[in-house]
């Protein structure tokens, strides 16, 4: 599992450096009168230090350990990417197209991604849930959810 420490260490190192650079844009103040940049700068530097330790640990064990790639296969990663994309796209369209369409699409497409093989099942589950969500969220809990172009 040493790859994970190297990648994780690099991730936090980059984050730490970026955060520290951004933090210098805010006033540091002084130790007795800290400004808005005081905490971010300190935390940024500590993250850099800690990420170096993690990275060091990773490298140390790297030599005599069998490397394990933490990610499975590209097919799996593709599904992850589709799911994330789906949530984001629907998020941006949510207020325009409204609750019902969004709920239906979210369910149907994510079931496609998850390889539910029967179309009947997809349509059935998506329709029933859409109806259920409408009853639960709109009729029972009267949540403020977008009605969209259907105005329902």
């Amino acid at each position: 599992m040493r790859y994970s420490e190297i990648i994780g260490g690099i991730f936090w190192l980059l984050f730490g450096i970026l955060f520290t650079i951004l933090a210098t844009g805010y006033q540091f103040g002084s130790v007795t009168q800290p400004g808005p940049g005081f905490l971010p700068l300190g935390v940024g530097l500590l993250i850099i230090a800690f990420s170096l330790i993690i990275l060091g640990q990773g490298l140390k064990f790297f030599k005599n350990r069998e490397a394990v790639v933490p990610f499975s296969k590209p097919g799996g990663l593709k599904k992850v990417a589709y799911t994330v994309l789906l949530l984001l796209v629907l998020g941006f369209l949510f207020e325009e197209v409204g609750l019902l369409v969004t709920v239906f699409l979210l369910l149907a497409i994510s079931m496609l991604v998850a390889e539910v093989k029967s179309w009947k099942r997809i349509i059935f589950v998506a329709l029933v849930t859409t109806l259920g969500v409408y009853i639960l969220f709109v009729l029972l809990l009267s949540q403020q959810l977008p009605r969209g172009f259907l105005s329902i």
């Binding site: 599992m1 994970s4 420490e5 990648i7 994780g8 991730f11 936090w12 984050f15 955060f19 951004l22 805010y26 006033q27 007795t32 800290p34 400004g35 808005p36 905490l39 971010p40 935390v43 500590l46 993250i47 800690f50 990420s51 330790i53 993690i54 640990q57 005599n64 933490p70 990610f71 499975s72 097919g75 799996g76 990663l77 599904k79 799911t83 994330v84 949530l87 984001l88 998020g91 941006f92 949510f94 969004t102 709920v103 979210l106 369910l107 994510s110 079931m111 991604v113 998850a114 539910v116 099942r121 589950v125 849930t129 969500v133 969220f137 809990l141 009267s142 949540q143 403020q144 959810l145």
Partner: protein, 499 residues
Amino acid sequence: MDIINHLVLGFSVALTPTNLFFCFLGVLIGTLIGVLPGIGPVATISILLPVTFGMEPVASIIMLAGVYYGAMYGGSTTSILVNLPGEAASIITCLDGYQMARKGRAGPALGISAMGSFIGGTVSIIGLMVLAPPLAMLALKFGPPEYFSLMVFGLTMVTYLCVGSLIKGLTMALAGIAVSTIGQDPISGITRFTFGSLTLMDGVGIVPVAMGVFGIGEILANIEANIKQEVYSAKIGSLFPTAKDWIACKWPVIRGTVIGFFMGILPGAGTVMPTFIAYSVERRLSRNPEKFGTGVIEGVASPETANNAATGSSMITLLSLGIPANLTMAVLLGAFISHGIQPGPLLITRYPALFWGTIASMYIGNAMLLVLNLPLIGIWVKILKIPYNVLFPLILLFCFLGVYSLNQNIYEIVIMVGFGVFGYLMRKFGFEGAPFLLALLLGPMMEIAFRQSLLYGDPFIFFKRSISVTLLIVSLFLLITPLFPKIAQRREILQELED
């Protein structure tokens, strides 16, 4: 025997058919929204508020209070079943609750959290009834220096939240503090790390992040691994905790009650911080701390008791001073106001029927919740039998709607998804989410209190006030003691790895 007279009055109010009905309706809605991720008591009470305008004030307050403490019962359900915190107060329940479910012990986990909630909730009402005025005075003792020391104390608990590598856990905690600085800095008024986004001006909320890191992160990992049913295929064992479970949970429930009750009084600490503290304390005191995070029942019992114990005490400052201790209480204050009632020092004398009626209804409501929740366990565990490729779209959907309903803001969805990807990656690299969330929660409070305290012009102010200095000494003690055995243990592990 004042208290008996008051209780007689209270129950005579709470037991009228109308009030009983609204109490039941409140706890039912509370359970429901507790189960639904994202949708919390704040949103629900504010939505129900206009509906209650036409009702009697007592009935309305009884119902809305029921929503509040009812939500704490429901919150653990999704944490245990699918690693998705229903409320911020159930984040910590994910750690052991979800692992219990994977081992086929979802039933006992749900059972102990219902029982723990009942015990914590009931004891907390007794405390609210008997101790409200002196406890309100205790809350007033906490100024900025005390809050800073309390937050330091809370953050030392991070070390007990790390199941795996300590250094990785601490890195996550630092990252949590880093993320917590996003938004408008209340001391200087400038906005930090928002890149022009209005949504980020208020900072990153704990609920979207928790739902992302735990819920969405888990789903993404499962999708990638192409899990269809395996996760949950373990047979669902008994539905209720065994005698052994009960014995193991005796002290965690008692300690959870005490911790939840006392921390709930403090405005700002809310119902979330006590759950982290209660969990960490149990791990610290346990003979097998390494088992925490792998599905031990104490890890579910203590936080679930603590968050309910905090519900009663968090009403203290509202009822006796008119100052809301958290956001939910602020909305409840709105409910009082719209009925023309000002909660505060004069509430009990001016509206005895309302005050004691509400208290009595909380006893009844907690009993109702227990009766309501125990049979539900059988239904909840059946959810695990849904094929995963149908179940996860449903979880995604509830996350999506729940997080939007927080502020009716689509960018909250973006934040949740972003932290979902983050949680997924961190899972891959063996970094844990819990320290990140604790730091995200406490970071802003600590920073503000620190800078407020220094504005008084004395850098040693933290050591000159008794509560503050006590908390700092306890934190130091907690920080130092585990280091020694841990170092020894660590060496051993490293040795093993080298060989």
